[in-house]
Amino acid sequence: MAKAIAKKKSNTIKLKFDTSWSYAPAPESKSAATINKQYNLFINGAWQQPLSKKYFDTINPATEEKLSEVAEAGAADVDKAVKAARNAYEKVWKKMPAKERAKYIFRIARLMQEKARELAIIETLDGGKPIKESRDFDVPTAANHLFYYAGWADKLAYAFPNRKTEPLGVAGQITPWNFPLLMASWKIAPALATGNTVVLKPAETTSLTTLKLAEIIQEADLPPGVVNIITGAGETGAAIVNHADVNKIAFTGSTNVGKIIQRAIAGTGKKATLELGGKAANIIFEDAPIDQAVEGVVNAIFFNQGHVCCAGSRLYVQESIAKEVIRKLRDRMQTLIVGDPMDKNTDIGAINSKEQLQIIQKYIAIGKKEGAEMYESSCRLPTKGFWCRPTIFSNVAQSNRIAQEEIFGPVLSILTFRTDDEVIEKANNSPYGLSAGVWTDKGSKIFNMTKRMRAGVVWANTFNKFDPTSPFGGYKESGYGREGGLHGLLPYLNLIN
């Protein structure tokens, strides 16, 4: 019965997602946010002009319009910030009762919640991510992270059996451009809770929400110098890393820069936490809940334009279901809305910078050259700004560069496999080890897979989930140290007998 119809129509069976009923633009208003024309450095509780006298522009990647200009901290500015942090550490923060320290962090968390809408708008304007994500994920998760660690401040004695703890001193922290506010929160919250003071530098393309956080910190009356926010690019970061009076480096960014930092701090006794790149394997078995797996794949690779270090960028599909999964994925991609990040219906916003777009385009060209089969959604792209359609490559070989190297964009490489052992071997066949995913309805297989995958975070039947209580961090070249949860405390502490 069914068969006959299927034969007849198999070429015409197609879902049409370009529907007559479509969504009208629903842009978030910019009026709820204030962005200054110029930002100085936040050092010792005050806004200070950079000794370097230099400023650089920060633009909206969706429109290429200038949003503001931001100070570029030179070595002398870094030194000033570190001195302020040292002074605050020795004179105030180290001596303060832990429960009081906690209350400051709680206060910052609350203020962040109160200003959530403004922060979300600025995050989207400055970084290009969809307002839906900055509103529903970045900002609330950032505030939750502060809440979580605030509570730890006076409970450290319970965290490490048979050991006392002491803070390290001044933490130099460098955050990436993909989750600016959230990463600032991931860095500052545990550092303050454990009694350290902070010099933090956001990425140069996305400084604004971190500067807004500085305003919040000021409003919270945090003692001057406990948190110093300085802006700048790689050289500013290097000055922090190389400053002799910094005790700890916490860095989230590329593996290359992570290695430079590792070399730079050799012989110094500085502790480090490195959260670096990834090329996560996301594995779908034939017995998986397929529709949820497909949604998981979408979330794994297209969340935040694929600018996610733990993105599920290598999809391994069991051969028996590969066609079906790819078909479902293509249908789903047709419903992804690419465009104005401020529109509440946008699923995929702007690529963060021109440089990053060029890197992504380079890899797409490599993928084509390597003979993989490319499919991109048919959506229209805005004329100004930096954009990339959601893209998948099928028939990818393990040896292809698009299967090995981090692309950091909305580009998925799809490979097939036959057996459990084969896919484990392929999944682990990578210098990275940040995250991994596995989709199967069989419990014992899940435990087998999650145990054997060499990655710091393993998502089973889900992907790209984050929580303040859940430790995050990599194996192998994805870095070391953990952020989040109980395990996120140790990187900021010395244990003493």
Partner: protein, 316 residues
């Protein structure tokens, strides 16, 4: 029974010490070889060195291991990772306990070797006793440290989320120069208790116990390749120990700041975990703790959805 063993152990020890004076028979000297993949090869380089004690007595011809020996040892260690880390923690505990038993059984030989390497008899006995006890200590930790350092994380979404320690993989170790037995045991035990495998460079100046310890390991149900012991010079080998791309972590126990810096620099090639134990007093209680195990563990966090039906407030 216990008394008899002790007595006989002592008598062997005395015989050993008297060997220079013995004229009755020609003594059979021991060849000190390296230990790779459960075998006792000589160094592939064919080189040797001859350390001497303070009195100037030559200890033995000791293999001067090469980078190729190290390479072979890493291959053996890598091959042993999945088997050893896959063993039940309880089983690893049994093996470590067995190592302690074997060490106890050859106590006299270790004391003799330590004395030959400038220890006093009393101090040597203390060192061997502590080394045995240390193995027992870590044997007990094998199936317990995970419980201390794991967590079930109360995430806000409908997921079960837990974090557990897992071995980092292959660890290269440059053992302490001073406490040639106790130091060696103290750095190896936590690494293998946690399911890692290792390649160890023994004390350059006091290498005898390390080879004899390898013999203990070889008779202890410890699978070949889990512990590989080389003898030789850190000056030659340290950089190879840290820039091998298939080594996951390096432990360095000497107090040499130039070499420490070199190690941290070179570790960047594949972002090895680097651990320095230059200030640890292995004789004290600070010389043992589960935190040493955690130094070569990674934390893995696993998420899985939790179904909630009808009454539990789900949308169903």
């Amino acid at each position: 029974m216990e008394k008899t063993i002790k007595k006989s152990a002592l008598s062997i020890s005395e015989n050993g010490l008297e060997k220079k004076n013995s004229s009755k028979r020609l003594e059979v000297l021991k060849t000190y070889k390296i230990y790779i993949g459960g075998q006792f090869p000589r160094t592939e380089s064919g080189r040797y060195y001859m350390p001497a004690n303070a009195a100037g007595t030559k200890l033995a011809n000791i293999c001067l291991s090469s980078r190729k020996d190290f390479r072979d040892a890493v291959v053996a260690a890598r091959a042993a990772v999945s088997g050893w880390s896959g063993r039940a923690a309880f089983n690893r505990s049994q093996v470590l306990y067995r190592m302690a038993e074997m060490l106890e059984g050859r106590k006299a030989q270790f004391i003799q070797e330590l004395v030959l390497q400038d220890s006093t008899k009393a101090k040597a006995e203390k060192e061997v006793n502590l080394a045995i006890d240390r193995l027992i200590h870590y044997a007990g930790w094998c199936d317990k440290f995970q419980q201390l350092f794991s967590a079930v994380n109360p995430v806000a979404s409908s997921h079960f989320n837990f974090s557990v320690p897992e071995p980092t993989g292959v660890v290269s170790i440059i053992a302490p120069q001073g406490d040639s037995l106790l130091g060696l045991v103290s750095v190896i035990a936590p690494v293998i208790a946690g399911g890692n495998t290792c390649v160890v460079l023994a004390s350059e100046t006091k290498p005898l116990c390390s080879v004899t310890f390898a013999e203990v390991l070889n008779s202890s149900d410890l699978p070949g390749g889990v512990v590989n012991i080389l003898t030789g010079k850190p000056a030659e080998l340290a950089s190879w120990f840290v820039d091998h791309m298939d080594v996951n972590a390096t432990i360095y126990c000497e107090n040499n700041s130039d070499r420490r810096k070199m190690i941290r620099e070179k570790s960047a090639t594949n972002l090895k975990r680097v651990i320095f134990y230059d200030k640890i007093n292995w004789y004290s209680d600070e010389g043992q703790s589960p935190y040493f195990i955690m130094d070569t563990q990674e934390i893995k966090t696993t998420w899985h959805p939790v179904e909630n039906i009808a009454g539990a407030g789900g949308g169903y």
